[in-house]
């Protein structure tokens, strides 16, 4: 027994269930990161001296990471477009590139974090509230990246078998995970200037 509009769009809303579901999920994610941004503004206005991001953080590395993430975003949307054009090989290629950029982001982040811990004196979340909120926000963002990598990796590997049995549904899945991935990119687009530059 199949739930209606799982794959096909409902005529009056023009949406299939999964797409609406992911948008609602993203709405709640907006509020989750919104809570943290609100905390950031609150903490910053509450003290006289708020450190500049450049005092603690590495802008060139973060710029590189920004470029990695927007690159992975464009390859993500290309992999979806490839499926729309019935080109499964290109889908595989683009998804692989997406995963590569995501890993690159994680590697850079790893070096960034370890440089903070290795600094003398160490830069820890407890050092001050700027570093605290920096680690919390980027940490939560990294968790989202890892979650995305797991799902995209699954859809690259074993999950891609669905292309043979139900291509439409598989394309939908790529669209949904793409929406999530672009959102994670979008959060970073704000995190980067707010934490590193302003």
């Amino acid at each position: 027994m199949d739930i209606p509009f799982n794959v096909k769009e409902r005529p009056d809303t023009g949406l299939y269930n999964g797409k609406l579901g992911i948008w609602f999920f993203l709405a709640s994610e907006v509020m989750l990161f919104g809570g943290l941004f609100s905390a950031y503004i609150f903490l910053r206005t509450g003290v006289d001296n708020w450190p500049a991001g450049t005092d603690y953080l590495d802008v060139p590395l973060a710029t590189l990471n920004t470029l990695f993430l927007i690159s992975s975003s464009v390859t993500m949307v290309m992999s979806w477009a490839s499926l729309k054009l019935n080109d499964f090989k290109k889908y595989k290629l683009y998804t692989l590139i997406t995963l590569f950029f995501a890993f690159a982001f994680l590697v850079v982040k790893y070096f960034e974090y370890s440089a903070k811990f290795a600094h003398n004196p160490p830069y820890l979340p407890s050092t001050n509230n700027f570093l605290g909120i920096y680690f919390t926000m980027t940490g939560l963002h990294v968790l989202h990246i890892i979650g995305g990598v797991l799902v995209i990796g699954y859809l690259y590997g074993p999950g891609s078998k669905m292309w043979n049995s139900d291509p439409e549904r598989f394309t939908n899945r790529i669209e949904i995970v793409g929406l999530y991935w672009h959102f994670v990119d979008l959060v970073w687009i704000f995190l980067f200037p707010v934490l590193y530059l302003l």
Partner: protein
């Protein structure tokens, strides 16, 4: 979506990507100009918003999305703005009485 439309879309994606990369460089560049704290924040956030809109409109296809999703996002945007501005507004009003 027909294959022609998708091909047309792909061209847009590449353009958007170039714009995003360019704006990233712009964000970093303007952080080196001294605009004062307020000016720097305003300009930085403006560029970030432009980038975010590009991602949302083109990569997430918000430009040709359905009414239901627009309504959801409007509701979310309103509560997001409340969450961002009201606590700090209350806090600033509080700080002023001391």
């Amino acid at each position: 979506m027909t294959p022609e439309e998708v091909k047309h879309h792909i061209k847009t994606y590449v353009l958007v990507f170039i714009a995003l990369a360019f704006l990233t460089v712009v964000t970093v560049a303007i952080s080196y100009i001294d605009l004062g704290v307020k000016g720097g924040i305003a300009l930085g956030l403006f560029v970030a918003s432009v980038k975010a809109s590009l991602v949302a409109c083109y990569f997430m296809h918000l430009l040709d999305e359905r009414a239901t999703i627009y309504w959801t996002l409007i509701a979310t945007a309103i509560s997001f703005l409340i969450l961002i501005f009201l606590p700090v507004g209350a806090f600033l009003a509080q700080a002023r009485i001391y």
